[in-house]
Structures are given as structure tokens and as C-alpha cells.
Symmetry: C2
Subunit: 432 residues, 2 copies
């Protein structure tokens, strides 16, 4: 049984606030452990990596080399079911083609007094991609992180992946190969983040680290932020489905469960104008759970965090959706396009009855790395821009300097920065 | 005396690496104190703010209201020298007009199989702007942070500024008024960051916090990252001037000192093809220091971190500049435009002899909030994009679902996510 709320009820606001503030993640305080690991890798380099890999991943890096060999990547690619290779290849092609449209344009213009203003975009030279080990080691995520970095023009895309007893998921290596990633190290945890940020004898440092990970990885990324750039701190996944009465409850239930099966902390919410549909979806969820391999996880997520919110009309639904700021928003309504302009906070919108979120996870072409935990209020899904940076350009000649100097000098003096003022006044009324 | 390096020397690489890794900031570990402050403000709200303000800023919030009144803002604006008001007004106008060009475009298109793909940009609804107190309380920074947020379309731009004994720099309040910021609270430190992130009885929470601050503010921003978005963690300022022999040494010296006067940890570097110019600049620095109000700070910065690097030619200069990845890069050479394509890592480029960096600080129109401490390798100066977020859009009809379903199902099964596969297969070969 999910949580039921009715937007027309008196107690709605308070119950909705409780829903919004539900804690879906056990936040372990691992910062002390992580600080130690970061400091050791920074000081001892490869030796520290070898020690941690032996301890945490039961792997002897003196026997199994840290870097995954080209032959090992080839062998993995050959060992993976050709149908999977075909699907990954299609996925890579679609991601690449969509992300190529995100390449930003340089700009340079002269304003009305002849000041030249503009900017240039350039790629981050070296990017580190963290790929989790174990069951969360997803080849699709390799593509979603690596392809935008490649499209941006990053020269080095370095992958790290923890390898319990040395074994890396072959599908992950196959995805790396398809994405053109050849520099792969079998290390994980905070120590891998440290190696990417600070470098070791074997691993040259990168400038930006992306990719999901456990609490240790997240804390390490937070700590090295500034030394390198990082992407978001990812939390448990979420979907919000907005549905009118004219829906197949089985389809909606399948979508809610696709989210719930990720993690017991995942959250699936349905907002509907039709309470009868809500009840039918709830029944369908129970029915579908019976035949779901990950039923235990999905059932726990649905029981603890699943919610059905009934609303009098779709106009009421949208402000509620924007307050939830979901990672994924499905618009399962008669005229979904009409709702899009009202979406303010969401990582991604899936439009209409034939766009289940899972298509976006794999082969839609858009990125599946999206802001969780209400962070769509202030951040965006991963894109090519995350692997580029903008350098601004300013160009004055003598006339422009003369025109702007008085104001600059005035403000410099007001701020007590005389040398700033002098660097302007010294050029006043001078010619080249 | 600055540090002298010669790129043609055998020992250059090692000496240059030392220069790059110089620690210019005392990194105080304040995270425990900050954690306590954050937790108290989160739990106790206004009461905690009152306590900390009494303790750290000698201000009784029961007597002096936390929110700066409209009358106080008006009075400050009226009290500031009209020439400063005029300069701030010009600055605001130029920043606004340049940043308006940064407004991104929405996109939507159908690909070759009819899948609809696109994105929408929307503004962050509520932004918090931290303004430091004391001597670093710069009205120009208020404009540089507030105007892009306003241009982006943020509905709420909230300013916090610590006010020792209740007093706020009138020029800061005047800049706020000129930028259209009306919600201002006289609080500072980690407690102000906490109030913006979590909200209190008086202050509604924001979604993103920007602006510079001391070690406590920086640690607090790092800690609340995820609950809200943050901008970069700013370090001491830097300039790199690339100069050929045909330069006025006094101009270059003035530019180096304009950077050095910010902070004893600031860094000013000159790369030149002409050692004689280097020596002349060094002499000019010593001469100009004699008449500089902030000579003590500037001299310490120049002595400890200033550097002059001689290079055989400009082609050698550029890779060195890119490794430094300076916040500010001045191109004081005969043909500066020819060097621009070689700039890979820099926050901003100031082109030619008549574009001293200080113009960009105040009235150029481009943003003066730029990446420090080599972070131009992976990040950009502040822009309108920092106050917006992108929602991606995906739209399939039955035909597109049928075309992409097999690959999606294949990958879902490969990743062990059957509910993902089911949410796709359940729609296969169905019509609306």
C-alpha cells in the first residue's frame, strides 16, 4: 500500500510537506574514514591503492595489474551476447547524435561603444568516470557518462571500476570499448576518487570526476571538489507520473515499479485526476510485484515511499509536481504537450503514453544521469556542457578605455583598491 | 623580488611544478565548527541566528531587525556619493546587457525515426547571494552575482551580509538597490549559509547559494551542496600577463599590483619573451609599491607568489599559461587575437594593451566571478546558466516505441532490471 493524499483535503499541505521531507537515504557519516583514505593516496600513491584494493576488493594489484589491458577489454567485448552489443551500439549512436546538438557556440561581438565581448568554449582535457562495482555496475551508465565527455572533446576519459577479486563486469568493459574509453583501472571507493583527483605513479590526474557511487565515493567527491570538478551527488532514483483517467493502469504500474526496483530508497509517485485509476494502478502494482525478480526491493520502495496523490484537475497537479521536482516526470495525459510549459522543476519529461522512462534509461538518446532528491530545482541532467568550460573575452582599445575609465576608477576607489584604479588611470588618454 | 624562471633552463620543469603547487591559502579545518552551526540553525532557526549574530557580529537582532528595511536601503543609496551611484548604474547596465546574450535557447526536434528530443531551460526560483562583511564587502560583487540571477529570471534573489554592530556598507546596499535586490538580511558566516539552505521562521529557503566568503562560509557551502546548489569555492585571486618586448613596463607593473593588492595570497605572474622587459617591470613594481595604500599586502603577495617567466617565444608561452590555468589572462602582445585560439584554460582573457583586468572587475560587462586556483581547467566564470537548469524532453509514439523496444529490453535484462524491461514490453505493438 502506497501513501494516499488528496490535494483537496484540509490536511494536504502538511501531509505533502511530510512526503517531501521523507528521508530516503541512510546518510552514513564516513567523512573521517574518507579523509584518511584521501590523505594516504595523496601521500603514498600506488602503494596506498594496492593496500586498499587488497583490503576492500580482495585483489592483489601486484598480480592483477591495476590497468585493464586492451586484450581484456577485447575479450570482454567478444564474450558479451551479440544482442547486448548491438543494443549498446545503438544506444551509443543515439546518445552521441543527440548530445552533439548540445555543443555550445562561441560568441564575439562589439557593443555600441566598440568594446569587444565574447566567450570561447573548450573541453575539459581529462575526465574521470567512476563506475560502481557489483549489481549497480551498469553498462548503460558507462555510455551516459563517457559519450558526452567524448562529444565535448575531452582528450582523456579515464574509467575506474572496483573489481572484487579482479573481475570486472564484461558488459561494462564492452560499453567502454563502444564509447571509445581505453584507459580503465580496476580500483574503486574513495581511493579511486583520490587517485583521479591527485594522480599516482600509474594514474595521471584528471580535472573532473563524474559518475555515481556509494557513500564513500560521494564523500570523497565532495571533499576533492575544488581540486577537480565533480558532477552532482546522486541520490536514490525517482519517478513522478501525472495521469488523467484515460490510462491503462498496468502501464502506469509497470512504470512505477521500474523506478521502485532500483533501490529500497527509490520513490515512485502517481498524481492523478481520477481516484479510480489510482486504485486500479495500486492493484496492478500488487499484481505485477508477484512476478518481478526484484520484487522485494520494489515492494519495500513502494510500501515506504510510494504515493498516490489525487487532484481535482491537471492545473492543480503541476504546482505539486514542481514542488516535488522529480528526477523523472511522465506525462500520461490526453494532451501532454499542453502541460510542458508548466513544468518548472524536473530532470526529464517523458511525453505521452508511449514514452516509458526506461526508454530514456537506455536508447532514447537523452541522458539518464539526472538530478535526484529535489535537486532539479537548481541543477540539470548531465550534458556536453558538463565537460566544457567557458573563457570570457574582453577587448578595449584606447577610446573604449577612455570611455569606461572614470567609472572603473570611481568604483576602485570606493572599494579601497587603488592599484586597480591606477592600472586604469595609467592608460588614460594614451595612444597605442 | 619575484620568483624568476626561464623556460629554456634545464631545471624549469621542476621549478615550474613547484610554482604550480604553491599553497597560497591557509586551509583552516573548520568543518566541525561549521557542522555544529549548520545543525543548530536547522533545528532552532531564527533563535540560532540571533545567538550567533550576537556572538560573532556584536549585534542584537531583537533590537536591530534581521531584515534590512526598504527605508534603510533608500537611505544608503541616498548617502552614497552620486559619482559612485552613477558608476554602479553604468556597471549594472553593461553587465545586464552582456549577460542577456547568454540566455540559452530551448530545443525540440524529431530525429530520423520520429523520436522527439529536446530540452527547456528555466530559472532557479530562489537564489541566495552571500556578500562578505568588512573590507571585502564589494558593491561590484553584488552586481556581478545578482544581475545574472535577475537576467536568468530568478523570482527571489536574497542577499545576506554580516553587519558588525548592525552596520552594512551603504555602497553594498546601493548596489543591491540598483540590481533590484530587495530582500536583504544582516547575517553572515556559516549561519547565514544555513539559513539560506534550510530556511528559518523569517527566511524562506533558497535553491542555490552564490558568492564568496571566508573559510567558514566556504565549508558551509560545501556541506549544504546537494540540499542547494552552490557556485564555485573561490580562492585567492590571480593574474597572468603574457607580454612581448614592446610594452610599457609601468602598465604591466600596475596590472600585476592590481592583483597583488587583493590579498597576501593573491598571485601575479608575468610571462615575457623579453628578459629586459621583465627586469623593467620588476623595477616598476618596486617603484609603484612606494605610493600604494595597500602596499603591505601587495608587496607580500608579490614577494611570496609573484613570478616572472621568460620564454623564447610566444608559442612556448601558451602551453605554460594553460598549465597555470589563470583566473585572469592578459595578452599584452602585438597581435593578441592570434593567441586566443591557443588559450585552453583561463577564466577570462583581456585582449591587448588597453584592457587592464580592472576594467573587467567593474564596467566591462563580463563577469568578474571567475575560477581560481587552477579550476579554469574544469569550470567557468559565473553566467546566466548558473541560475538556470535544463529539463530534457523525450517523446515517442507507438512506432518509435516499437523500433526502440528490443534494444531497451535487451539492456534492461542485461542489467537485471526486469521491471524496466516490462514497462517497455507492455506497450509493444499497441496502439493509442
Amino acid at each position: 500500500m502506497a501513501i494516499w493524499l488528496n490535494a483537496a483535503d484540509d490536511g494536504f499541505e502538511s501531509a505533502f510537506k511530510d512526503l517531501l521531507s521523507m528521508k530516503r537515504e541512510v546518510s552514513k557519516d564516513v567523512s573521517d574514514v574518507v579523509e584518511t583514505i584521501l590523505a594516504r593516496v595523496r601521500a603514498e600513491g600506488d602503494a596506498a591503492l594496492a593496500d586498499y584494493s587488497a583490503r576492500f576488493d580482495s585483489i592483489d594489484l601486484a598480480v592483477t595489474p591495476m590497468r585493464v589491458g586492451a586484450d581484456e577489454i577485447e575479450a570482454a567485448h567478444a564474450a558479451v551476447d551479440p544482442k547486448v552489443i548491438e543494443a549498446l551500439t545503438l544506444s551509443e549512436k543515439r546518445i552521441r547524435s543527440h548530445h552533439a546538438r548540445q555543443l555550445p557556440k562561441d560568441d564575439f561581438y562589439e557593443d555600441d561603444i566598440g568594446v569587444g565581448l565574447g566567450h570561447r568554449w573548450t573541453a575539459v582535457e581529462a575526465v574521470g568516470l567512476y563506475v560502481p562495482g557489483g549489481t549497480a555496475s551498469y553498462p548503460s551508465s558507462v555510455l551516459m557518462n563517457a559519450v558526452p565527455a567524448k562529444v565535448a572533446g575531452a582528450e582523456r576519459v579515464v574509467m575506474v571500476v572496483p573489481a572484487m577479486k579482479g573481475a570486472v563486469n564484461p558488459a561494462v568493459l564492452a560499453a567502454a570499448k563502444i564509447a571509445g574509453v581505453t584507459e580503465i583501472y580496476r580500483i574503486g571507493g574513495a581511493q579511486a576518487v583520490a587517485a583521479l583527483a591527485y594522480g599516482t605513479e600509474t594514474i595521471a590526474p584528471v580535472s573532473k570526476i563524474v559518475g555515481p557511487g556509494n557513500a564513500y565515493v560521494a564523500a570523497a567527491k565532495r571533499a576533492v571538489f575544488g581540486t577537480v570538478g565533480i558532477d552532482m551527488i546522486a541520490g536514490p532514483s525517482e519517478v513522478l507520473v501525472i495521469a488523467d483517467g484515460d490510462n491503462n493502469p498496468d502501464w502506469i504500474a509497470a512504470d512505477l515499479l521500474a523506478q521502485a526496483e532500483h533501490d529500497t530508497g527509490a520513490q515512485a509517485i502517481l498524481i492523478t485526476t481520477d481516484a479510480a485509476l489510482g486504485r486500479a494502478v495500486e492493484e496492478a502494482v500488487e499484481r505485477q510485484l508477484k512476478t518481478l525478480p526484484r520484487a522485494e526491493i520494489a515492494a519495500a520502495s513502494w510500501r515506504d515511499f510510494g504515493a498516490i496523490i489525487t487532484v481535482p484537475d491537471l492545473d492543480t497537479a503541476m504546482p505539486i509536481a514542481n514542488r516535488i521536482a522529480p528526477e523523472h516526470l511522465e506525462l500520461a495525459v490526453d494532451d501532454p504537450d499542453a502541460l510542458i510549459p508548466s513544468v518548472r522543476n524536473a530532470g526529464a519529461i517523458f511525453v505521452g503514453h508511449f514514452t516509458p522512462e526506461a526508454i530514456g534509461d537506455y536508447v532514447g538518446g537523452s541522458n539518464h544521469v539526472l538530478p535526484t532528491a529535489r535537486s532539479a530545482r537548481f541543477s540539470s541532467g548531465l550534458s556536453v556542457l558538463d565537460f566544457m568550460k567557458r573563457t570570457s573575452i574582453l577587448k578595449l582599445g584606447p577610446d573604449q578605455l577612455n570611455a569606461l575609465a572614470p567609472a572603473a576608477i570611481e568604483l576602485a576607489e570606493c572599494e579601497g583598491l587603488s592599484a586597480h584604479g591606477r592600472s586604469v588611470s595609467i592608460r588614460l588618454n594614451r595612444k597605442e
